[in-house]
């Protein structure tokens, strides 16, 4: 794992980014939003998502804000993750999207 001081601020870490296509039938809707935010909250890292590689960025731990993004099926979801467990967080986010939130 990372050799880090957990007390360090999130911005001391280099942001990690990656993207994935929404494959589930109706996009990032109610149930996937809940799953995604629940998963995001398990990590200490700051996790944000966007429909474009340069933002605007939305807090992936807030279901209210994630639903406001209204990401449809086929949209590319970009993630930006900053924090001590960033790599694991990013992998978990991507896995959830690849897996169609278990709805495929």
């Amino acid at each position: 794992m990372h050799d880090v001081n957990p007390g360090r601020a999130a911005d001391a870490f280099v942001p990690l980014t990656a993207s994935a296509v929404l494959v589930n039938a109706v996009g990032l809707h109610a149930r996937p939003s809940v799953k995604l935010t629940q998963c995001a909250k398990r990590f200490a890292a700051k996790i944000e998502l966007a429909l474009a590689p340069d933002g605007p960025w939305t807090d992936a731990k807030s279901p209210v804000k994630v639903m406001r993004v209204k990401a449809p099926q086929g949209a590319t979801l970009h993630f930006r993750v900053t924090g001590p467990d960033g790599e694991a967080a990013l992998a978990a986010m991507l896995a959830l999207v690849h897996d169609g939130f278990g709805e495929a």
Binding site: H29, A30, S33, V64, M67
Partner: protein, 532 residues
Amino acid sequence: MAEIHLIGRAASPGLAIGPVTMLTAAVARRAASDDPAQEAAALRAAIEGARAEIAEQIKAIQGEVADILEFQVAMLEDDALAVAAYEVISVGITADRAWRLALDVEIAGYRAAEDEYFRARAADIVDIRDRVLAHLCGVDTVARIIGGSIVAADDITPSAFLAADWSHGGAIALAAGSPSSHVAMLARARGTPMVVGLGPLAWNGQPPALALVDGDAGSVIFDPEPETRRLFEQRMVAANAALAAAEAASLAPAHTADGRRIAVLLNIAAPEDLASLDPAICDGIGLVRTEFLFEASHGLPDEDTQYAIYRRILEWAQGRPVTIRTLDAGGDKPIAGLTVDGESNPFLGLRGIRLSLARPEVFRVQLRALARAAVHGVLKVMLPMIAIPSELDRAGVMLDAEVAALKAKGIACARPPLGIMIEVPAAALCAEDFGAAFYSIGSNDLTQYTMAAARDIGAVADLNDAGNPAVLALIVRTVEAARKRSVEVSLCGDAAADIRLTTALLATGLRTLSVAPLTVARLKTAIAKVGS
């Protein structure tokens, strides 16, 4: 009075006749304080009250309804929902007005969405708004619906639907609404006919007393003439007879038009998938995924937990064969504390049986639980991602050792037959060389490894075709190996449920297909047309 015909959109199929109940929004009054701090506290308490109320309801239910309510809980738990309300409370607006203003902005945002699915979420936010208002005002604003009635309204919230008893018929006729709404999903699940988008429900004087709802055509007739009603009732009788016939057909074994018997098995991802299913719809379970047991939130499951769940599934099957797949983690299914992070290409990495053999302490627990469950039915165990015979052999040695250890301790167990998934092209090409008790073709991975194209990468998705001759050739080769070795072979990937491929798959010699429970009836209908 002349009958009124309205045309809308079908949201849930079926025909219904009944007395009309008009739903109108209840208006509640509340004595507000002029202290912003008190108003903010009142709103906070009302939100928490609404959240606790829904959380309590969830305990008694599961499946789709629970998911819908969990969404409401998640929204209510999120501070972002009420930020705007607290802001206007601080400048002197009362809690109920502030909440209504803030939520109405949210609702308007959903109503303006391009995507119909997101527009349909407006009804959920209205539901959340009204629940909190009910707690603020100390009254019950959820409209009560009399069983068996036709509910006519502008729109209807999930709470109002769930509060009603739909077991005695009834239907929903909405001026607005959407086929993608949660209420429409619930109506389809319960078999309640529903029509949306009828336009303004305006009456001259008296509201209608009776309505006929056609959830197939998407139309509603209010106050029908006696002749209209008689014809509609005739259609209802005929439709009910057809429905009963279709249900009976899905319970019957599947045969092609030229008389070949095809076994239809189920794929399940969790024991809840079997709730309310009649085992008679299938010839057994072809794939039980066990990844759900290993979800990060629960940690690695112990032997007794696994045993109890496997046993429950075997008991549900009532003697029909059940194939349980050992943990298929890695690739697109990472599990915290088990799979390897940061592989450059996880689909070609330590996944499936490779991971189980690398982590024998985890694998042995699963093998012990399976051996103990095997005494409760006809259990078969299947290993995922097998590429070479020694992987099967090593797993077989471990299973033998665990069975011997259980027996030595006097614990009831049996050694289930060990089969392999055919999803790596190497295993399909050399299937005959494996000492497997059966083969199960995993068409999703077999297709992606054969075509070198992932299905979730849009630019190459059309290459990811299970009907490609190369993929079919590997299936033929596997079926041929099974025939020579006199062992069973089935196919359990998404291709099995794709009815465009049914003829091609049966032409390979396959006689067993395994699909998700919801697609069984459709697959059986498709099978009945093959060879006609």
